[in-house]
C-alpha cells in the first residue's frame, strides 16, 4: 500500500490524544453554574395504576426546584426509539404515565440544587398504587385472558395491544410443511437467549441549559442527536429550531443510546426553571431502567437433501419486548433478514413470530440487532444437520452459503418492520473467510484427534458463518459539508456520531484520500445539530458505509471546485489537473499550484469565494459484511466449566478504511459475544425485580477471560461503499454463542440451547445434576 494513502492506514485517532490525557470531553465534564440535579422515582411494582401522588412535601424541601409527574407534563404518545421518521416502533410511551408497567418504570422526577437534596426529595413523594396483575412470560402474555400491558387509547403502531402483540408476522416462500415432510434429512430445535445489558462504561447522562437566545441546548450521551431533536420537538411542542443537541465524546453505546431516555426530563426542567439541569443514571438504573437486549426463543427447522443442500429453512421467534415496544418490530425482522439470506439455496422459507409485551424492563437496540439471537439458533441447527448428514460442518456451509452475484428473496420481503429492498450480492469473501479460518484454527487436524485430553477435560472445535448489513437501504440518509481554509486546511462537518468507533477519524481519512492531503489538515466537527448537516446517527452498521460515501461525494465535489480555480491560475484545462499531495498539478505540463495559493486567492485576491461543498447519501442496497468464526474450547466435565482456548474471526468488511479500528470493532464485538455465551444474564425475581443489576453479579468479560484471539481480514471490493468499504461494527457479536455451543457439542456431545452456558447448565446436560 502507498505510504501516503490515508485509506487503509491506521493513523492515531484524531480524538485519541484528548481521550488518553483525560481532557474534558464527555457529557459530564463541564461545570454549569446553577445546575439542577435530577433523580427519577422508579416504580416498585411490575404493573400498577397510580391512584394518588403527593409531591407537596418534596416541593417544600430546601433546595428542590421542580417535581414532575404525570399530572404536570404533556401527555403525548411517542416512542423512545431513535429511528428515522416515521419510526417503525409503536407510540406506546409517555413522558410520565398514570400506569407503571415494570419495576423501574418512571413515576416522577425531582430536580434540586444537589444530588443529595434531589434524593431526599424523592423519598418525600407519596404514591398510592393500585397493583394490577402482571405478566412476565411472553408465551403467557399472548394467550387470551392474560393481563394487558397497554390499555391506553392513544397507543399507535402496535399490532394488537389487546393481545400484548407489538408485531405478528407469518411470511412464507414456497410450501414449507410439504417440503419438510418430503425432506430426507430434518433438524429442529429451539434456542433461547436471556436479557442482556449493553454495559457502556459511561451510563446515560444528559445536561441541558438555555443559550443566550433562550434556546434549549442538550449535551447528551446519545447515538442519535438529530432524532433526539426531532422527537423532543414533537413531544414538547417546541419548534425544532429552538433545540440544539450536542453529542460530545460518548463512553460507549452499543445500541443502548439509540434512545431518548433522559433528554425530555432535562429539557422540561430547564424550560420550566430557566436553569441548567443534569440527570445521570446510576449503574443500577442503567441495568434496570435504560435498555436491554430482547430475550428470544428462536425455533429453527431445517430440511435438506442427502447431497447436503438445504431445501427448507424455517425460523419462528417469540421475542419479549418488555413493557414498551421500542425497536421490538425491527429487531425481530432483522433476526430473519440478516440470517436467512445467508443460506439462499433453500427454496422453501418461512419466517414467523410474535413480539410480545410483558411487565419486565425494556429491551431496545443492541449491537447485532436480532441477528445475534437468530444466528445462535441457525448456526447450531446447521451443526446438528451436518451431524445427521455425516458432513463436515464446514463443508455443509460451503455447499449452502450465498455468493457474489446471487440474491435471496428475503432481501425484498423483510425490511425494517416492513418490506425490504431487493439486492444482488456484489462482494462476498465468505469462501476465503472459511478457508483462512480453517487453516488458522487447525480445523482438519484438531477435528480428527481424540477429544479427551485429561481425566475429565475434553476439547472441541466449533465454527459458524455470519453476515450483517451496511445501513438501512432507502431509509437512512447521511450528509457532509466541507470548507477549505485559506491555508489549504479543511473543515469537515458531519452529523455522523462517533461513539468510540473512530468515525470522526475514518471519515476524515476518506476526505483526505479523495483530496490527497494529509489527515492532520482536517478539522472535524461532528454531531452538533446547530453546526453539522444531518446524519441518521450511529446505528445499523452504517457510519463508515453510508456517512463515508456522503463524505466521499462531498470531497469529490469540493475537489472539482478547487481544480476549477487552479485551472484559472495555471491557465490549464481542468480535465488535465489532479490534486496530488497538497497541490493541483497538470498531468500534461507538470505545472502546479498549492492549495494555500488557491485558498489565499479565493479569500482575498480574485474570484473571491468560499470553496465549499455539501453532499448527501442514501444507499439503495445494504451490502452484507461476511465472517467465519472458529473456536476451540476445553470442557471440564467435573466442574462444568467451558474454557474458550482459541478464537479465530475471519472477516470480509470490504476494504477496511482504518484496519486498527476495524480490528478493534471485531475484537470488542466478539468479546461482548463471549459474555453472552458464558457469563452474562440479567435475572428477575418472580415479581419482576432485577436480581443482579451490578458488576459483581452481572459478569461481563475481563482481561482474564480472553481466549487467544486471531483476526483475519479478507479484502473484497464493495462497489457501493466508499473505497470498497462495508460495515464491521456489529457482525462479530453474532459469533460466540453458536460457535462456542458447537465447539462444546464437538467436545462432549451436549447441545447447549439456552445462553449463557453456565457450568450448572453443562453439568445438567451431562446428567450430573
Amino acid at each position: 500500500m502507498d505510504a501516503k494513502r490515508s485509506v487503509g492506514a491506521s493513523p492515531i485517532k484524531i480524538d485519541g490524544p484528548s481521550l488518553v490525557t483525560g481532557q474534558s470531553v464527555y457529557a459530564d465534564d463541564i461545570q454549569l453554574p446553577g445546575l439542577l440535579y435530577g433523580k427519577i422515582l422508579h416504580s416498585p411494582f411490575a404493573h400498577a395504576r397510580i391512584e394518588e401522588i403527593n409531591t407537596a412535601k418534596a416541593e417544600k424541601l430546601h433546595g428542590v426546584a421542580l417535581v414532575l409527574d404525570h399530572r404536570s407534563v404533556p401527555r403525548k404518545a411517542y416512542t423512545t426509539a431513535g429511528q428515522g421518521y416515521p419510526e417503525p416502533s409503536p407510540y406506546d410511551n409517555f413522558i410520565f404515565d398514570h400506569t407503571v408497567r415494570f419495576i423501574g418504570d418512571r413515576v416522577a422526577v425531582v430536580f434540586a440544587d444537589s444530588l443529595e437534596e434531589a434524593e431526599e426529595g424523592l423519598s418525600l413523594i407519596e404514591v398510592r398504587y393500585h397493583e394490577l396483575p402482571a405478566v412476565f412470560d411472553p408465551a403467557e402474555a399472548r394467550r387470551p385472558g392474560a393481563p394487558r400491558v397497554h390499555e391506553e387509547p392513544e397507543i399507535q403502531g402496535a399490532f394488537d395491544p389487546a393481545r400484548n402483540l407489538v408485531t405478528h408476522l407469518d411470511l412464507e416462500i414456497g410450501a414449507v410443511e410439504e417440503a419438510l415432510a418430503l425432506a430426507p434429512v430434518r433438524v429442529k430445535g429451539t434456542w433461547s437467549t436471556p436479557f442482556y445489558q449493553h454495559v457502556p462504561m459511561e451510563t446515560h447522562i444528559t445536561l441541558s441549559w438555555l443559550d443566550e437566545r433562550g434556546r434549549l441546548v442538550l449535551r447528551t450521551s446519545t447515538q442519535v442527536p438529530f432524532h433526539v431533536r426531532r422527537i423532543l420537538s414533537r413531544i414538547l411542542d417546541l419548534p425544532l429550531w429552538k433545540i440544539r443537541v450536542i453529542k460530545p465524546r460518548i463512553g460507549g453505546g452499543f445500541g443502548g443510546k439509540q434512545e431518548v431516555l433522559l433528554e425530555d426530563l432535562c429539557a422540561l426542567a430547564t424550560l420550566r426553571t430557566g436553569r441548567p439541569a443534569r440527570i445521570e443514571l446510576t449503574r443500577e438504573e442503567e441495568f434496570v431502567s435504560s435498555r436491554l437486549m430482547h430475550p428470544m426463543d428462536v425455533r429453527v427447522r431445517l430440511g435438506a437433501g442427502r447431497d447436503g443442500i438445504l431445501q427448507v429453512l424455517e425460523m419462528e421467534i417469540l421475542s419479549n419486548t418488555g413493557a414498551y415496544g421500542t425497536h421490538g418490530a425491527t429487531i425481530f425482522f432483522n433476526a430473519g433478514s440478516k440470517t436467512l439470506p445467508l443460506y439462499n439455496k433453500a427454496e422453501h422459507v418461512r419466517f414467523a413470530g410474535d413480539v410480545v409485551y410483558t411487565n419486565l424492563p425494556v429491551p431496545g437496540a443492541y449491537r447485532g440487532y436480532g441477528a445475534t439471537e437468530g444466528y445462535f439458533a441457525l448456526e447450531c441447527a446447521m451443526d446438528e444437520l451436518a451431524g445427521r448428514l455425516g458432513l463436515d460442518p464446514l463443508e455443509l456451509r460451503r455447499r449452502n452459503h450465498i455468493r457474489s452475484g446471487e440474491s435471496s428473496p428475503i432481501f425484498r420481503k423483510l425490511g425494517e418492520g416492513r418490506e425490504g429492498v431487493p439486492q444482488i450480492i456484489a462482494s462476498c469473501g465468505l469462501e476465503e473467510c472459511i478457508e483462512l479460518g480453517r487453516r488458522a484454527i487447525g480445523w482438519d487436524e484438531k477435528r480428527s484427534r481424540p477429544r479427551q485430553v485429561g481425566s475429565h477435560t475434553f476439547r472441541g472445535l466449533g465454527m459458524g458463518i455470519f453476515m450483517q448489513g451496511s445501513a438501512i437501504p432507502l431509509v437512512d440518509m447521511a450528509a457532509a459539508t466541507m470548507r477549505m481554509n485559506e491555508d489549504g486546511s479543511f473543515q469537515l462537518f458531519i452529523g455522523a456520531t462517533d461513539i468510540g468507533t473512530g468515525s470522526d477519524t475514518i471519515l476524515a481519512q476518506i476526505a483526505a484520500e479523495v483530496l490527497s492531503v494529509p489527515l492532520e489538515r482536517f478539522v472535524v466537527t461532528s454531531s452538533d445539530t446547530d453546526l453539522t448537516p444531518f446524519d441518521k446517527g450511529a446505528y445499523a452498521s452504517s457510519t463508515t458505509f453510508l456517512s463515508g460515501e456522503a463524505v466521499r461525494k462531498c470531497a469529490l465535489a469540493l475537489g472539482e471546485k478547487i481544480l476549477a480555480v487552479a485551472a484559472v491560475l495555471l491557465s490549464e484545462p481542468t480535465e488535465e489537473l489532479l490534486l496530488v499531495e497538497g497541490v493541483a498539478r497538470s498531468t500534461a505540463t507538470g505545472k502546479q499550484v498549492t492549495l494555500e495559493e488557491i485558498g489565499m486567492r479565493c479569500f482575498y485576491l480574485a474570484g473571491q469565494q468560499q470553496l465549499e461543498a455539501s453532499a448527501s447519501h442514501v444507499s439503495e442496497v445494504s451490502p452484507p459484511p461476511f465472517s467465519a468464526h472458529f473456536a476451540e474450547v476445553e470442557v471440564d466435565t467435573e466442574t462444568g466449566c467451558i474454557k474458550p482456548l482459541r478464537y479465530v474471526a475471519a472477516v470480509d468488511c470490504g476494504q477496511p478504511i482504518h484496519p486498527g479500528q476495524a480490528r478493534g470493532q471485531i475484537i470488542g464485538a466478539l468479546v461482548n459475544g463471549l459474555g453472552f455465551a458464558l457469563s452474562e444474564e440479567l435475572r428477575f425475581s418472580p415479581r419482576g425485580a432485577a436480581l443482579n443489576p451490578n458488576f459483581f453479579d452481572y459478569k461481563i468479560p475481563t482481561s482474564l477471560d480472553l481466549p487467544e484471539i486471531e483476526t483475519i481480514f479478507v479484502h473484497t471490493e464493495e462497489p457501493s461503499g466508499p473505497f470498497g468499504a462495508k460495515s464491521v461494527g456489529e457482525i462479530c457479536i453474532n459469533g460466540p454463542m453458536p460457535v462456542i455451543a458447537n465447539a462444546v457439542y464437538d467436545a462432549v456431545g451436549i447441545q447447549l440451547k439456552r445462553a449463557p452456558f453456565t457450568p450448572e447448565s453443562v453439568l445438567r446436560l451431562l446428567g450430573k445434576l
Binding site: G16, P17, Y26, M201, S703, L706
Partner: protein
C-alpha cells in the same frame, strides 16, 4: 474537614466532606480527568488513581484516607503535546475506543511497568483485570503494553522523568 495530600506532585490542601469519596472530592475540585462515577463501589475501575503508586478505585476510598499521601491522576502522565509512551502506545495500537475507561487503565499500567519493565501478557492481563472495558475486548490494550515493555527496557525511568516534567507544568495552577 481539610485534606492535605500531594496531587500529581503538588502539595494540595482541599476542604472535603466527611464521608466523601476521593473520587467525589477530585471531581468537585475540578479534576475532571478522573472519569467514571457510576458503579460507586470499585467494581469497574474507571476512576482508578494511584495512591502511593498503587492503583485504587477512587470511588471506593474515603477522601480522608488520602491524607499525607501521594495521589496521581492521568494528568501525571503526558500532555496533549507530549504524550507519555503509554498513551502513545495505546493510540498506536488502536487500544482506545470510547476512552472512558482509559485514564484509569493507563495508571494501572504505569504502576505495572514501574514494578516490572517487561511484563508478560499474563501479567498485563492480571494488572488489567480490575478494569472493565466494553469497547475494546482488552486485546489491543494488552498488545500496546506488551510492545511498550519490549521496546522500552526502562519504562519505569521514562515514567519517573515524565512525572517530573509534569510537576513543572502544574506549578502555576
Amino acid at each position: 474537614m481539610l485534606l492535605d495530600f500531594v496531587l500529581n506532585g503538588i502539595e494540595t490542601s482541599w476542604s472535603v466532606h466527611p464521608g466523601e469519596s476521593l473520587f467525589e472530592a477530585l471531581r468537585r475540585h475540578g479534576r475532571l480527568e478522573v472519569k467514571g462515577n457510576n458503579c460507586g463501589n470499585g467494581e469497574c475501575g474507571a476512576c482508578t488513581v494511584l495512591l502511593e503508586g498503587v492503583p485504587i478505585p477512587s470511588c471506593a476510598l474515603l477522601a480522608g484516607r488520602a491524607a499525607g499521601k501521594r495521589v496521581e491522576t492521568v494528568s501525571s502522565l503526558g500532555t496533549l503535546e507530549h504524550l507519555h509512551p503509554l498513551q502513545q502506545a495505546f493510540l498506536e495500537h488502536s487500544a482506545v475506543q470510547c476512552g472512558y475507561c482509559v485514564p484509569g487503565i493507563l495508571l494501572s499500567m504505569k504502576a505495572l511497568l514501574a514494578r516490572e519493565s517487561t511484563p508478560s501478557r499474563e501479567k498485563i492481563a492480571i494488572a488489567l483485570s480490575g478494569h472493565l472495558c466494553r469497547c475494546t475486548g482488552y486485546l489491543q490494550q494488552i498488545e500496546a503494553v506488551e510492545a511498550l515493555g519490549s521496546s522500552h527496557p526502562s519504562a519505569a525511568e521514562t515514567n519517573a522523568a515524565n512525572c517530573q516534567d509534569r510537576e513543572g507544568d502544574t506549578d502555576g495552577r
